[in-house]
Amino acid sequence: MAIKPNTAFLTSYRIYVAAFFVFLAAPLVAAGMFAFNDSVFPSLPWQGFTLDWFFNDSEPKLGMFHDRRLLRGLYYSFVIASFVSLLSVFVGTCNAFLFVRCRFPAKDFFYIMMVVPLVIPGVILGISILLLASNIANGAEESLSLDLDFLRPGIVLVVLGQFSFITTITSLVIIARLRKFDQSMEEAAYNLGASRARVLRTITLPFLFPAMAAAGIVAFLVSFENFNTTLFLVGSEAPLTITMYDRMVKVGSTPVLNAVSFFLMVGSALLALVSILVQRDKPQT
């Protein structure tokens, strides 16, 4: 531990840290708690505890598990996030091998290119992909009279749009892990008689697996919560965040949104915890 400053200073420092965490928690608590308030408005005073906003099946207190539009949004979010995480983990793993193991010209430049999508504003990513896709689709329709439906706003574009920057995240996670890999382990396996494919299957991939799983979970969560990029690419199959936003703007805030928020927060927290647990190495004894 570093040298500790004097007690008065340390106490006020601790108070600041505590205040900061209260600040962090406040809106999450606010968003979560009204899910259990037995009132049609998400505001004080407290009217008593209820689970209606999750399970009730009739208006005016239609619970989220009976709200067909919210459930559809949840389903689309799930489908999109699954595709995005599978794709981005695959490409991220390829990128990790490419940047850790291969030597090729202008590697530094390409590495920067790999990182750049993370710092491009999501709104710009969304519109630029939308523009390109629409232009290609229009061009194909006019000159070839082909109907390239998948290039119109919809699930495919949303997946591609999210994939475009989430892959940077998965690549960085997997690259960090592959860098820690002791390459003499591969040589040892090879020396013990394993074929290259077997070395990859039994040594390298098992070593990478925790990072791949963690990257997949991160990708899933980031995709699930994404709004900025999705907004421009969405078609009729709106994922949950878009549905919620629509509801918020058009209907105003109702406690069912709190219920969804609570559900998402708990789900994300659990998944994030899993991702941390799989990444943790076996304890040294």
Binding site: A2, I3, K4, V17, L24, L28, A30, A31, S43, L44, V91, C94, N95, F97, L98, C102, F104, F110, Y111, M113, M114, V115, P117, L118, V119, I120, P121, G122, V123, I124, L125, I127, S128, L131, L132, N135, L160, S164, T167, L221, F224, E225, F227, N228, L231, F232, T241, M244, Y245, M248, S253, L257, S261, L264, M265, S268, A269, L271, A272, I276
Partner: protein, 289 residues
């Protein structure tokens, strides 16, 4: 030799997904956006090549005012996030005990996995006229009539700081974590006091983390859409709103593309300037984490 062929083949196979991703989803769309932004609409479905969309932007003060406002507020948010976040990161990395350290770091991460939308929603519930803070103050007798805390610049800035501060803390913690405590002790041992050790030893060491955090925070802030709209209301004048407006409301894609490109150019310029000033490179900061 055969081994060389195998190497070349695997390089090609590994490079292909990378190239497809970067070219099809990043490079081409941006080139396309740039190209479209140079199209002038001269009549229904008739376009000419020219700078009209950009000229239009500079002729209309409301547009470039918004961009400058977005930029300066983003910088303010970045500075605030750094000032508020650095002590937290230092506490987690250097002062907290081993067990609390992990817990605090996790607590920092959990809001990261909660959607922007939910976080903004939480703030709305807290800050609006009928919100928790206003009603609590009324209940405590401190105010007589409900107060609207929402829909002003302070709310927007606070919401943005809240949204992005984690991206400042995480790289800072990992940089400070890698710093040997004996460096700080040596600083004191050699006669330094708190401020000089901070200024001469800790901050220079943490510089890559600071710069990396600032870049990500600035980009996220300038590119954010949801928080300014929801917390600032319709007149929050955030530049992404203008872009959305051009695209969706006015259906003027050419001008929207030009706006998008301007935002990209502007933020890149700010980051390039920041890197030059701090003497860091993109490779040594963001790419490192």
């Amino acid at each position: 030799m055969m081994q060389n062929d195998i190497k070349r083949l695997s390089l090609f196979l590994l490079f292909a997904p990378f190239a497809l991703w970067i070219i099809l989803l990043i490079v081409l769309p941006h080139l396309g956006m740039f190209y479209i932004s140079l199209q002038e609409k001269v009549g229904p479905r008739v376009y000419e090549f020219g700078l009209a969309n950009y000229i239009n932007f500079f002729n209309e003060p409301i547009y470039w005012n918004t961009l400058i406002r977005t930029g300066s507020m983003s910088m303010l948010v970045t500075v605030l996030a750094l000032l508020l976040g650095f002590p937290i990161a230092y506490y987690i990395a250097k002062i907290a005990g081993n067990r609390t350290r992990g817990a605090l770091f996790l607590m920092c991460l959990i809001p990261l996995w909660v959607s922007d939308l939910i976080r903004a929603f939480g703030w709305i519930l807290l800050l609006r006229e009928t919100g928790i803070i206003s009603s609590s103050l009324q209940w405590a007798g401190l105010i007589n009539t409900p107060i609207e805390f929402l829909y002003n610049d302070a709310a927007v800035i606070m919401g943005l700081v809240y949204t992005v501060i984690l991206f400042m803390i995480v790289p800072l913690v990992s940089t400070l974590d890698g710093m040997d405590n004996s460096m700080i002790e040596a600083g004191y041992n050699l006669g330094g006091n708190g401020p000089t050790v901070l200024r001469r030893i800790i901050i220079p060491y943490a510089m890559p983390g600071i710069v990396s955090g600032c870049i990500v925070v600035f980009m996220l802030t300038a590119g954010s859409y949801l928080t300014p709209i929801l917390l600032g209301g319709k007149n929050s004048s955030w530049f992404t709103e203008q872009i959305y407006d051009q695209f969706i409301t006015r259906y003027n894609w050419e001008s929207g593309a030009a706006f998008g490109f301007l935002l990209l150019a502007f933020t890149s310029l700010v980051i390039w300037g920041g890197l030059k000033l701090s003497g860091q490179t993109l490779n040594s900061t963001v790419a490192r984490s």
